[in-house]
Point group: C2
Amino acid sequence: MAHATALPRNEAGIKAAIGVLKQLFGDRLQTGAAIREQHGHTTTWIENQMPDAVVFPADTTEVSQIVKACAEYGVPIIPFGTGTSLEGHVNAPAGGISVDTSQMNKILAVHAEDLDVVVQPGVTREQLNTFLRDQGLFFPIDPGANASLGGMAATRASGTNAVRYGTMKDNVMALEVVMADGTVIRTAQRAKKSSAGYDMTRLMVGSEGTLGLITELTLKLQGIPEAISSARCSFRSIDDACRAVMMTIQYGIPVARIELLDEMSVKAANAYSKLELPETPLLLLEFHGSDAGVAEQAETFSSIAEEFNGFDIATTASTEERNKLWQARHDMYWASLQIRPGAKGISTDVCVPISRLAECVVAAQEKAADMGLLSPIVGHVGDGNFHCLLLIDIDNAEERARAGDFVSWLNQTAIAMDGTCTGEHGIGQGKRGYLKAELGETTRYMAAIKVALDPDNILNPGKILID
Amino acid sequence: MAHATALPRNEAGIKAAIGVLKQLFGDRLQTGAAIREQHGHTTTWIENQMPDAVVFPADTTEVSQIVKACAEYGVPIIPFGTGTSLEGHVNAPAGGISVDTSQMNKILAVHAEDLDVVVQPGVTREQLNTFLRDQGLFFPIDPGANASLGGMAATRASGTNAVRYGTMKDNVMALEVVMADGTVIRTAQRAKKSSAGYDMTRLMVGSEGTLGLITELTLKLQGIPEAISSARCSFRSIDDACRAVMMTIQYGIPVARIELLDEMSVKAANAYSKLELPETPLLLLEFHGSDAGVAEQAETFSSIAEEFNGFDIATTASTEERNKLWQARHDMYWASLQIRPGAKGISTDVCVPISRLAECVVAAQEKAADMGLLSPIVGHVGDGNFHCLLLIDIDNAEERARAGDFVSWLNQTAIAMDGTCTGEHGIGQGKRGYLKAELGETTRYMAAIKVALDPDNILNPGKILID
């Protein structure tokens, strides 16, 4: 585990707040070690910092009650969705109360005519899409994991089809939020656009629970496309693959997904998903539109790919073949772990201007090799975002340190290319230093906003900003 | 003119700051009455509140110098682009210094491979698009007026093609901003997406100069589409036209523009632009894509329109015919004024969920008629946004009051429909009360952010929030 700094604990306050909350929530407040541990670090490589209690509210009023109790005693509140965040977002470095939103899982209203839906924060994206399917609608953001929509908003998540549908910032229309004093606000009405004052919706999206607790989301929906098809194409080099991506985007082909797997990832996918792909860099694409539209997109992409020496190009409108291909992509995490059984996977998340992408990916491959680290790479390359999955013996301190050095080098490299240390995972505990490196003095004004909205620093302390 | 409250003036500070700035800027600081008056209310119907001086900086360093001087003496700073804002954004209710960005009009870098451009805030959208044309690129946001890009970002502007390309919030990737203490910050790097801390970009977009002065913008660009075509279709009722819009959006037709003109607007367009359109509600559309793609879009739209009794449907790929049609749309302001020569046009800006659009438009028509007001309506109906252009004898106090009552009624009506009082014009001075009505307690937290980032309230005071 990577070490995480503990913050001072307010023991008396924590005890008092738990007492009050126990009265209010009974068995829906849990203090057992197992459940507290589950609500600590989850999937991150940062060490576990357990909360002192976990509470399961059912609605906005209850969240407000929790916040008011914690505000009264100055006790930290850590919102918890499904625990799929990667940067220690749900750790409790100063202890406090984990607010688990899993019971706030109701779909409150579908406005099919307006293409929007109102949900509680514990609704997961798969739950939502299963519910919507009969109405011919879907919510496009797909970060891989079956995350909660509240958590996805809180970390400004995105994933494989952001290249077409944007990130959570583009798909959250309005939020209901419980502020640090327990007041419930709405950030916006349900109009598709608005110039009504400061954009509180976008301020909350990506604030990782440090400015307020999301209790309701209004999300933009899409009609399920008439036709979906997919394509794959192998390349002789990362550079060729990235140039094909750039040209595809410049041509304005509205690709729904365009994913890169590097050589090591393709090998892993072949082994794990029983495929026979050429073991060179690979692009996987998905097209959404009308029948004629997707055919045209696939054809245009194929000509572009050929220009960049793409080979073994295969396009398909068959749902079965497409699902097989994308299942392999979604299983990359597990496939990669098989490269080194027993290893822990640590994911980086840099995003650079697409013109620098090939250079950044190749530099990462070379650096990992130089440092003796195994690191398959997959990327949401239409956006310039890619993940190295470092395969680490987590009990080996020297190897952990080497992984840390690599992460640091990669983040600095991306920042120097006018990129970001995090395309979609967020800052959490793990990237606070890099945020400072990336945005400098800007973080001082972020801190001013934090103080203005949460003067006692009770909302997810120790995240995003360095205290 | 509508009355605007004056705020207390810091006479000594203003005098001192002008003295300092005169030393620094020489003739680029102007205090003549004519130029100060030009930098007051501009196109709004709110009375003129002139600044005490107008300064013309050439770069970021100079803007920072201005802000530092004004901060030292506690003097208001009012950013000025092209003066096309509609809600008194450039008025100086407490006096102070108007910062005219017209000399900051350089296009600093075009990154064609990344589809982005870096500009100074005084660059206008027409200037940018003329510059980009040779490279096959364009910036899609089109609010009608040839506004400055800094001003468009500051008011979160949009316009006719937001239905496809979004608003300024979706097209500004990063900003350089001078904060209230003169510090220069960057809100983000140039990566296409990021989860790096609070979304300072989106916080600044729409903040109307009250949180910082925009000195540089990184904007997303689009490739000029291979094909552009247009369509028009007349309907027997607003309801039929709006239902056709809803269905078009639900079908996922990626219309680039979909505009409504009501009966009165069509009559005005016929007279002004010498057209012979049926004098019933009209939809104008534009399609962007490949040749086959735009043909398919037009065809699908036509079938939808027929379902809703659309008639006199005409589609065209001819640039000349298309330009004629859209010129008529862009000239609607002038055409409408001809309905009542000598009248002043006052524009409303509500935006409602699209399912409530027909109801809202029809209610507005009926209310205007009941109140004896002439008010043609045009709408960016794909987004649920429409403008009543009230034609007023501005010297008639009773008529002004009636117009005010209508505006108030319409804003309240839209808010009650889960809509907003402003889809794209912003709050400025004119809509501060409606912002409160729309978002209630949320404005308290907006005020907390304002205090955190501008503790002395020198940045465009008297805008957005009620002091």
